[in-house]
């Protein structure tokens, strides 16, 4: 990238040559880097999207995190503990990517806690049995992979690079989820029922993870033009269904959609329409666990205030002692 041309953002329209250079970079499928000039809209859109993604990783620790202490074998406990820890790590890289755009992690956290920024609505559904851990791995991490693999080619460099690592870990999570389900399906009839029940509950919310249908997705067109986003919501949703159907057959579970069938002519599966009103309700805060998820995050943040203040105070005292030592 040509860093000599970099300048602070907020100069949309005022610097046509910078805009032209930015447009050229996007057109050539090259990456925008933190010090490059970028339109303010691009910066804001990215901060919003990356923050929302980071928040989703952190809130997403809760539904599965509930089962670490209850995992029914030590091996499963270790796998789940490590998975939830990875999600904290993903949150960290993503907040760091947002910071390269001038955002501040503490400020983004405040926005989340005050409900001014969103996270993925999927995490507002409850985890009712240990089979949910497997189904979340299979569906939710699977849908996340479908959404995120194209983001590894996103036009913004730090985001794209963070996504490469995150996608590798998500793939691993998805495998552990599917492997848990395969193991449970080989177990007792009660275990098979647990798996089917979890599939029934998570299927439709997972399809909603791709967002509203294309004709009702207001921000998509600009994000596609900026190559922040590479495929439409409906395209990704269809791909997810096509990949998941044969896996469900292999597992021996039924996906809860009577309209689901292979369409030879289109070369894709036909499937039913998710309840978009439900998605809107959950996004607006009326999902089964919205309050619970926010309350946990808020409480952790508030109860940690004294710890963070102590660390800051110690660092300041330590720096002062070192300065004094240096003078003496």
């Amino acid at each position: 990238m040509d860093t000599t041309r970099s300048s602070p953002a907020g100069t949309d329209g005022a610097e046509p040559d910078l805009q032209q250079h930015f447009d050229g970079t996007i057109a050539r499928d090259q990456r925008i880097e933190p010090r490059d000039w970028m339109p303010e809209g691009y910066r804001k859109t990215l901060i919003r999207q990356i923050a929302q993604h980071a928040h989703s990783e952190i809130i997403g620790m809760q539904p599965e995190g509930e089962w670490i202490t209850r995992a029914p074998s030590l091996r499963r406990k270790a796998i789940l503990f490590a998975k939830v820890q990875d999600e904290a790590g993903h949150g960290l890289y993503l907040y760091s990517a947002a910071e390269t755009l001038g955002a501040d992690r503490a400020d983004l956290t405040e926005r989340l806690i005050e409900g001014r920024q969103k996270y993925s609505s999927i995490f507002n559904y409850p985890t009712l049995s240990f089979a949910d851990v497997g189904v979340i791995g299979w569906f939710v991490d699977g849908a996340a992979i479908c959404n995120q693999v194209p983001l590894c080619r996103s036009s913004y460099g730090p985001y794209a690079r963070a996504m490469v690592r995150i996608c590798k870990e998500e793939s691993f999570h998805q495998r552990q989820g599917f492997e848990l389900l395969m193991t449970m399906m080989r177990g007792t009839p009660e275990q098979r029922e647990m798996v089917q029940d979890a599939v029934n509950r998570w299927w439709w919310p997972s399809l909603m993870m791709f967002g509203p249908p294309d004709d009702a997705s207001p921000n998509s067109a600009q994000s596609m033009a900026w190559k922040i986003k590479r495929h439409s919501n409906d395209e990704l949703r269809r791909r997810f269904v096509d990949m998941t159907v044969p896996q469900a057959e292999k597992l021996g579970v039924t996906l809860p959609d009577p309209e689901l069938r292979w369409n030879e002519e289109r070369g894709h599966h036909d499937f039913g329409t998710p309840d978009w009103d439900e998605l809107m309700r959950v996004i607006k805060g009326d999902g089964p666990c919205n309050d619970q998820r926010m309350e946990r995050r808020r409480t952790a943040h508030e109860e940690g205030t004294w710890v963070r203040e102590a660390a800051t105070a110690h660092a300041a005292k330590q720096a002062a002692r070192e300065r004094k030592g240096a003078v003496a």
Binding site: I68, R75, G91, V149, L180, Q191, H231, G304, W306, A310
Partner: protein, 275 residues
């Protein structure tokens, strides 16, 4: 669309199942290791030592897992989970060793999920509720310091399997102690509030210190470490106040049974289940 990814290969058949990172049909973490107990080692004593050390680790790991989504900062989420995962790993190896040494052939899950509170041999300090971050840090500092000193000795144990588990654990515990010590200093030195919370945490931990030092003679080493850290933190050394009873003989606080109920509930509800 050219974004091919591993999701598509998820259900492909592989006879050997080696594509799973953790393996399937996994039963024994010591698989492939020569597990004969040497002639000059008392197998019963070895088994009970392994169970004791595994119980400490499992109960600590369970308490650390409770911090998940509740830690004061994301870096602490990652660090506390790391420590919990290390201890969980130690517990698994030690239970497996115990099952071999005591001749029952019990696996790690038999020890973890199908014994009751009275059969657990962990120290009571490990089972106390997490309290605030200060309490968790003081407890971690004490337990990691004790365990590290003890594991350093165990690297010379006549049982080569236990010696190897200890050698692996020493590296992990060195980090645990370092992490706890750094936070103890930050919190002891930080603000009036954090200092006060550390003082209270020390008082809460003090009655449970004696129990650690009854069986294994690493007291001096641990006291030296604690003195160094408390001095750097501007805190007094905790005053030792003995409390009757000991987790080492199965006398626990009221907190262990609920901890185990949570840990064991799903496994016991599906005793025939495969996970």
């Amino acid at each position: 669309m050219s974004d091919d990814h591993v999701y598509m290969t998820l259900a492909e058949g592989h006879e050997d199942d080696t594509r799973w990172a953790y393996g399937t049909g996994f039963e024994d973490p010591l698989h492939g290791v020569d597990t004969a107990v040497p002639d000059d080692v008392d197998a019963g004593e070895l088994a009970s030592l392994c169970v004791t050390l595994a119980d400490d680790a499992l109960v600590c790991a369970q308490r650390l897992a409770e911090w998940t989504t509740r830690a004061p900062e994301l870096e602490e989420e990652v660090a506390l989970a790391n420590i919990g995962l290390d201890l969980l790993g130690q517990a698994r190896l030690l239970y497996s060793r115990a099952g071999q040494a005591d001749g029952t052939g019990r696996d790690e899950d038999a020890f973890a999920y199908f014994r009751d509170a009275g059969d657990f041999r962990n120290v009571r300090l490990a089972e106390l509720p997490n309290g605030d971050f200060a309490f968790s840090i003081v407890r971690l500092l004490v337990l990691a310091s004790w365990r590290l000193a003890h594991f350093e000795r165990l690297t010379a144990h006549r049982d080569p399997v236990l010696a190897a588990i200890a050698a692996k654990g020493v590296k992990e515990l060195t980090y645990h102690r370092q992490y706890a010590a750094e936070w103890a200093v930050r919190l002891g030195d930080g603000t009036e509030e954090s200092h006060g919370r550390m003082r209270r945490a020390q008082e809460q931990v003090a009655p449970y210190l004696g129990e650690l030092f009854t069986a294994y003679d690493v007291r001096d080493e641990v006291v030296t470490v604690l003195r160094q850290v408390t001095e750097a933190a501007g805190l007094p050394m905790p005053v030792y106040r003995p409390l009757p009873g000991s987790g080492r003989t199965g006398e626990h606080t009221e907190h262990l049974a609920p901890l185990l109920a949570e840990l064991q509930g799903v496994a016991r509800a599906h005793p025939e289940g495969t996970w």
